[in-house]
Amino acid sequence: MKLIFERSVEGYYNEMISPCDVPTTALPEEMKRQKELHLPSLPQPEISRHYTELADATFGINNGFYPLGSCTMKYNPKINDEMATYPAFASIHPLQPEHTVQGSLEVFTMTEMLLKEITGMNAITFQPAAGAHGEFTSLLMIKAYHKKHGQPQRNKIIVPDSAHGTNPASVAMTGMITVNIPSDNYGCVDIEALRAAVGEDTAGLMLTNPNTAGIFDKNILEITKIVHDAGGLNYYDGANLNAIMGVARPGDMGFDIIHLNLHKTFSTPHGGGGPGSGAVGCKSLLKPFLPDYYPVKKGAEIGFTRPVNSIGLVKGFYGQFSVFLRALTYILFLGSEGISSASKSAVLNANYMLHELKDIFEVPYGESCMHEFVISLDKLKKETGVTALDIAKGILDHHMYPPTMYFPLTVPEALMVEPPETESKERMDDAIAVYRKLYEDAHKNPEAFHEYPLHAQIHRVDEVRAARHPIVRYDFALENNE
């Protein structure tokens, strides 16, 4: 595919704005940009075709089965998008007077009310822009809480070794220290290791439940109690909430603060990497520490307030508004039964696929799961030399997105499969057949696997070259030399 710059022909001007209708004022010469500005120049039909070509070479949820573990790639409803682009919401300036934005503010308070009930929390902020940003926000709140309560020495956050990489990275950003603890054979928290890790310096625990292996930690009440007894707080990473919405609530498990990935659990689009929305919910004890601009009802009107011990702003304005407006649309449509039925169906899907694959693939964490499960290809690799990566690349040739590869880090040659509730039985049956066939092929003709994919847009890429000699932009000088 040509780059848009390679399609450019000088001299096109798409008439988008009207000519200036006031007397022009010239910018003083000494302030002017000297460097020529290279941007594409091509007629609108060609721009349209260029992006259609790029879209054709992009795999979206509607292109096929998308069982990306830990990412909850569920269908993104169209009504959500229509509401997000509705001009009465989309054209509102964030700094309009409060009495002119009551509708937008109601989006906050109504979404908060619904999510409070779903999670068992007492307050929700929508300011964090993404999951990792929500983690960071929550950790700052935990830190501020301990400081306020005269315990600034609490600076250690306990993180299981199976956690997402963002957990320890977020801890580092707050100046706190990560204490990694091992998981037991089911990827669950090793209770004895946890007991040994907690103490006077414990600020909190970060945990996702179900965990990254797709297992619900049965000892959850004991775990959160150990941390509470030691004076720490419990943080719930909402990455896997899609397993338990409407069935069980983090708030009832002893968690004090949680982040939600609205772009996973609540059906808002991933957009090729964002924008997401990492709403943070907390129990009353942490409410005074929420970020600035927390909307509350003041008499008949809703207005922003600054919580008394607020950690401050974590970004400009109030959050990814159009994203959580989509989440609100989704929750209103599903309602009480729809929410729990979504989670139950996701768990059913995962268990069905696990059941149909467990006879040939190794299943390190047992024969039942929550909304996702992990298979290990370690044995296959030892027998045939075919790796998890090779199988994933083989799947690409069947017009499916592969599962998440090499995660969690605690399982060798891991593939993590998450078929969300919006996947049909037929789609899963197709995928099961493909996975099983690839497994057989790996034994018959392992050599072929190193060439896969054969029918994708490109062959495997040279990642080392990309990293060693980074080319991260088009060089217009090259063009001129040609």
């Binding site: 009551q102 069980a248 991933h270 924008p275 990642e463």
Partner: protein, 438 residues
């Protein structure tokens, strides 16, 4: 009850039988019984029609102004129809971060093209696939500049307050000293800056044009900052950057900003999109995703996420940042906007912003008692005071469906873009005059 389930109840029963369970609740045997909720106390599901009605009714509680003279970090520009249509394409909208390059070349190429355009706008060598917004971009840029012996961060008070507050929050729990450089006559007070810069300074941040619209003398500032061997971070409005001296031209080390003006709707503050661009030598300090060019096994050009050794999923607590998600769809939107408008189109937008803002100021200052707060050169925002209270002026404008300037401590902060016609500007002047009792 609404749902988006992929299978029918009959198929679900079939699957349950296959795995040897009777009903759906059997799936949750691992969850302690006392924890299972009996009834989720939220309203029952509704038809799509009903949901639409509820939300449209909610939307009607907002006031949509027919003309907007307010910016202060969120800018009202024309969004071409093609920009909305292309960024709504399902493949771009619904795909995941392009971890599988073999089936994500379109998305990866779009990021590469976006990166190129941002480098062109800012005059820098390298950038990433975007960050959350302008304020967090500034915070991430500060993080790139910190060194063991340089932990002091200088920020001009003429920077958008939300950027300053975000930066303060980001580093609130670390041993970083923040020094505010005061404003003087609408611009950064350079004598104080010179005095505060020393060999413990990590960086200085200034916004161009600044929060009050003023055009800062960035060349002089760059020299001053570099003399102290500190890094210079310029937070730029990308529209202004197409006509003003770029960060690259004045040798800034990092350019950050919010490219919301490039095709992103106001949407009550988000999602917007932050960019962070730098010189070649600091490329490995960039946070977040970066698309790079390479070749595939057949030797053909290919794109891939690169320099991943910096990132959280590899480095965990030692990562350059915790960033995982970015604003990819907004980056695509930016790229389509820049492609549609072209250099000539965006520069025309910038020039109109400049001319029209000056035209409004001329009109306003003809009114007795209306004054601009300083004489600094400005781009498309400026502050004025009135012989009457700000509220009186704003109320008058609101009656006529006009969103006036943003009330700040100094006065009303006005913003004019290509969206404001001569007729609208003249109307504002006439109404302000009326509000001032003239």
């Amino acid at each position: 009850m609404g749902n988006y389930l992929g299978s029918t109840p009959q198929q679900q029963q079939e699957m349950l039988r296959t795995i040897g369970l009777k009903n759906m609740s059997d799936l949750y045997q691992d969850i302690p019984k006392e924890m299972i909720i009996k009834n989720l106390a939220i309203p029952a599901g509704k038809s799509e029609f009903e949901v639409r009605r509820i939300l449209e009714k909610m939307g009607k509680k907002n006031k949509v102004f027919s003309s907007i003279f307010r910016g202060a970090g969120a800018y009202n520009h024309y969004i071409p129809a093609i920009v909305k249509q292309i960024s709504a394409k399902e493949e771009f909208m619904t795909s995941y971060t392009p971890y599988q390059p073999e089936i994500s070349q379109g998305l990866l190429q779009s990021i590469f093209e976006y990166q190129t355009m941002i480098c062109e706008i800012t005059g820098m060598d390298a950038t990433n696939a975007s960050v959350y917004d302008g304020a967090t971009a500034a915070a991430e840029a500060i993080n790139m500049c910190l060194e063991k012996k340089r932990l002091k961060v200088l920020i001009s008070e003429t920077t958008n307050p939300m950027t300053i507050q975000t930066a303060l929050t980001y580093f609130s729990s670390r041993e970083i000293e923040f020094v505010m450089i005061p404003e003087k006559d609408g611009l950064t007070d350079l004598s104080v800056l010179k005095e505060k810069l020393d060999d413990t300074s990590a960086c200085f941040i200034v916004q161009q044009p600044n929060y009050y619209g003023g055009i800062e003398p960035v060349e002089v500032i760059a020299e001053m900052v570099h003399e102290a061997k500190a890094k210079f971070i310029m937070s730029v409005n990308p529209v202004a950057s197409t006509v003003l001296k770029t960060a690259g031209e004045v040798e800034a080390d990092i350019a950050v900003g919010d490219s919301q003006p490039f095709g992103i709707p106001l949407a009550f503050g988000g999602p917007y999109i932050g960019f962070i661009a730098t010189k070649e030598k600091m490329i490995r300090k960039l946070p977040g995703r970066i698309a790079g060019e390479t070749v595939d096994e057949a030797g053909d050009r290919a794109f891939v996420l690169t320099l991943q050794a910096r990132e959280q999923h590899i480095r965990r607590e030692k990562a350059a940042s915790n960033i995982c998600s970015n604003q990819a769809l907004c980056a695509l939107t930016n790229a389509v906007y820049m492609s549609t408008m072209g250099a000539r189109g965006i520069q025309e937008v910038a020039e109109q912003c400049y001319s029209k803002a000056h035209y409004l100021l001329d009109g306003l200052t003809q009114i007795k008692g209306v004054k601009r707060t300083n004489d600094s050169p400005f781009f498309h925002e400026f502050v004025t005071t009135f012989p009457v209270a700000n509220e009186v002026v704003l109320a008058k404008l609101e009656e006529h469906d006009i969103l006036g300037g943003y009330p700040t401590e100094q006065g009303l902060l006005w913003c004019v873009t290509e969206m404001n016609t001569k007729e609208q500007i003249d109307e504002v002047v006439a109404l302000v005059k009326e509000a001032c009792g003239q």
